[in-house]
């Protein structure tokens, strides 16, 4: 029997969702200040409207939803997934008010893409948008990379036991420190330290590349945010082709890879455990799959003779593959060049890299290296069992911060989520083909959206069917939150209608 949620449940979910939306409103202070500094008055007014809408919702729920209960697991999951939807609906206001979006759905698409660190966008005439709006786009993705619940935990919560349940609901499960609020702050400490170093490196390089100081700084900051969050937004429509610079690309690759590492790994390195970098199952898995997919793409591109020399070939192949594998979505080729220059094999290699993705509990999406590592180890364990004497006990371990015994439950969990991702990729691609897009094109875009990568071969476009926009919004959200909390929200909605 399904129990219908009671009034207290709604109040509890409303209260915490409201707090998170207040957090989104507070975040808008930064683009508001940016607009004021650059005297972009129309954009500043847009942000006043949008912040006010966030606060009206947030403080309204604090008044209406008064309860002292703490969150249970199902509440935590529902708040995490539900708040992403509410934050998307309200957070889309600045995009919509700017006049650069074809519909409110397009604005929501861009905001969900930002929060989920995907990087696909439908904004039109991007090259003429204000600094304030550009700051908001990149801030969305930077905040989304850490998780909007993490932001709220950092600044707005006093550390209830239920807070951990929201944190897990956002697709993170590592406790860097015993207390979840301290964990959220540790994540921010790591991210902000990288922000300072990464922005400084890109700013200095931008100056050397001939950018004006203000533009070099803003581009450095925004490109850092796009790279670290593995979001892939860039301030110009040319993405990172704009810079035409090997050194800029190298810095971007370092930041993308750093952003795609597990926060627990960052914390281990932060606290002096450097060996972890080469022992961790995720870094090993990532290195192997990145090398293999890059080799496949390089071989194919060399065979097709797309690039004139080995340096150009490697530079283009490695950058797109590193970007795809870290699920960032930066590119130094035009979107449609995936079709016109890279061809099906190059696209499939990129697709595999995107589908696998990077580390769990990072800013990245996709199936995750840890699951690929676990499944591979389990497979090898079974092979060893088959060739060992029947009486032999074959055990396998994997290393993630510490040595962990490979148990059936862990393998089952990894396989379940992997199957869920593969199903999501396949169904989304299927819908694309129903609309008449070629199979490889719709597969590429479906994997890119579902793995929160954001590389595009040109299918994503303001003129694409509305149903596909809704579907992509859904799979970006589903992929980022890793299914469970979205299913919890759907279950909550179902029990409201069908429960007793």
């Amino acid at each position: 029997m399904i129990l219908r949620p009671r009034k207290q449940d709604h109040l509890l979910i409303g209260k915490y969702t409201g707090k998170i939306v207040i957090g989104v409103g507070l975040l808008m202070v930064i683009p508001l200040i940016t607009s004021i500094v650059f005297q972009e008055w129309d954009t500043a007014v847009d942000f006043v409207i949008s912040m006010s809408a966030c606060f009206i919702f947030g403080f309204g729920t604090q008044i209406v939803c008064r309860t002292e209960r703490d969150l249970s697991w199902s509440h935590g999951l529902v708040v995490a997934s539900g708040s992403w939807i509410v934050a998307t609906i309200i957070g889309a206001l600045p995009h919509w008010l700017s006049g650069h979006e074809g519909s409110y759905l397009d604005a929501m698409f861009d905001v969900m893409s930002g929060y989920t660190t995907t990087g696909l966008y439908l904004m039109q005439d991007l090259d003429h948008i204000s600094h304030g709006l550009n700051m908001w786009r990149h801030l969305l993705t930077y905040a989304g990379g850490q998780g909007i619940v993490v932001i709220a935990l950092t600044f707005l919560f006093k550390g209830t036991a239920g807070a951990y349940k929201m944190y897990v609901g956002e697709g993170k499960d590592e406790r860097l420190l015993p207390n979840v609020v301290q964990t959220a702050r540790a994540i921010w400490l790591v991210s902000l330290t990288w922000l300072v170093i990464g922005t400084a490196a890109l700013f200095g390089t931008g100056l050397l590349l001939g950018q004006e100081p203000v533009r070099a700084f803003l581009h450095g900051l925004w490109v850092f945010m796009g790279a670290w969050s593995t979001g892939g937004f860039a301030p110009q429509s040319y993405n990172t082709i704009w810079f035409h610079s090997l050194s800029y690309e190298v810095i971007c690759i370092v930041i993308m890879i750093a952003g795609s590492l597990n926060f627990a790994l960052h914390w281990a390195l932060w606290t002096g455990n450097r060996k972890e970098l080469r022992r961790n199952v995720e870094t090993v898995s990532f290195t192997v799959t990145l090398v293999v997919t890059t080799l496949v793409a390089t071989f194919w591109l060399a065979k097709s003779g797309v690039y004139p020399d080995a340096m150009s070939l490697f530079r283009k192949a490695f950058y797109q593959l590193a970007s795809g594998h870290t699920t960032t979505g930066f590119s130094t080729i035009y979107s449609k060049a995936f079709i016109s220059q890279w061809g099906p094999v190059g696209m499939i290699a990129t697709m595999i890299a995107m589908a696998i993705g990077a580390s769990a509990c990072s800013t990245a999406g996709g199936i995750k290296g840890v699951r690929i590592g676990i499944i591979t180890k389990a497979f090898l364990q079974d092979v060893r069992k088959m060739i060992s004497p029947e009486s032999a006990v074959v055990r396998a371990k994997y290393h993630h911060i510490r040595g962990i015994l490979l148990e059936d439950g862990v393998v089952r969990g990894a396989l379940m989520i992997t199957v869920a991702y593969m199903t999501m990729y396949a169904l989304t691609a299927f819908v694309g083909t129903l609309y008449g897009y070629p199979l490889v094109t719709s597969m590429f875009e479906a994997v890119s959206a579902g793995s929160n990568t954001g590389l595009s071969c040109g299918l994503t476009d303001p003129t694409m069917p509305d149903l596909m926009k809704v579907l992509y919004i859904f799979v970006m959200w589903l992929g980022r939150l890793e299914f469970m909390s979205v299913f919890a929200l759907i279950g909550y909605g179902y029990s409201m209608l069908r429960g007793r």
Partner: protein, 194 residues
């Protein structure tokens, strides 16, 4: 009661879908002045690789000087004569080409387009490279000549009175709710102490 609840949810969803679908018309008639356009160059790179092309577009962003040479970016999209901030209708993504040319030539461009500026419209003649060996495989045009065909200008994006009134009204409402929320919090704290 349950049926009424379901009906309300359905009506709300239908209303929401209508709001979402309420589009600004993407009917900007402006097309690329180029043949081949930037889109055609990306779609069929091998057809044009190594050939001389004439390319017109709005100078966008900035001039990036690299010694005696420089990079500029020319957009030949729906906004190359008038951008969205100036009231142009939506017409899809930006589209353009990277151009590598002598710094001296590039410095003839006065205005590069951004939020506050509509950039100079520039015509260049040069060789198109589908994957330039000199520039790490980038798709670009190496220009030999440059001509300003239309000067740039400031782009006005004034605040409308209606929008300003909305901002004031909503900010006041948000402030009021904040004050109410704080006072209820302090009341309930006093109540629990008593």
């Amino acid at each position: 009661m349950l049926r009424r609840g379901k009906t309300l949810i359905l009506v709300a969803l239908a209303g929401f879908a209508l709001v979402l679908g309420g589009c600004r018309v993407a009917d900007n008639p402006q097309r690329s002045p180029n043949d081949p356009s930037s889109g055609a160059l990306v779609d069929a790179p091998n057809d044009w690789d190594g050939k001389e092309v004439t390319f017109t577009g709005e100078a966008i962003g900035e001039l990036m000087v690299r010694g005696g040479k420089a990079w500029i970016h020319l957009n030949d999209d729906a906004y190359y004569l008038k951008n969205v901030e100036e009231g142009a209708h939506l017409g899809g993504y930006n589209s353009g080409m990277s151009v590598w040319l002598d710094t001296e030539l590039a410095r003839e461009i006065d205005i590069f387009g951004d939020y506050k500026l509509q950039g100079d419209v520039v015509t260049i003649v040069g060789v198109y490279n589908a994957a330039c060996g000199e520039h790490g495989g980038d798709m670009d045009v190496h220009a030999e000549t440059l001509e300003i065909t239309a000067p740039g200008r400031p782009a006005e994006d004034p605040v409308t009175t209606g929008k300003l009134l909305w901002a004031i009204g909503l900010a006041v409402a948000a402030g009021g709710l904040y004050a109410l929320s704080r006072s209820w919090d302090s009341l309930s704290r006093h109540g629990s102490r008593a």
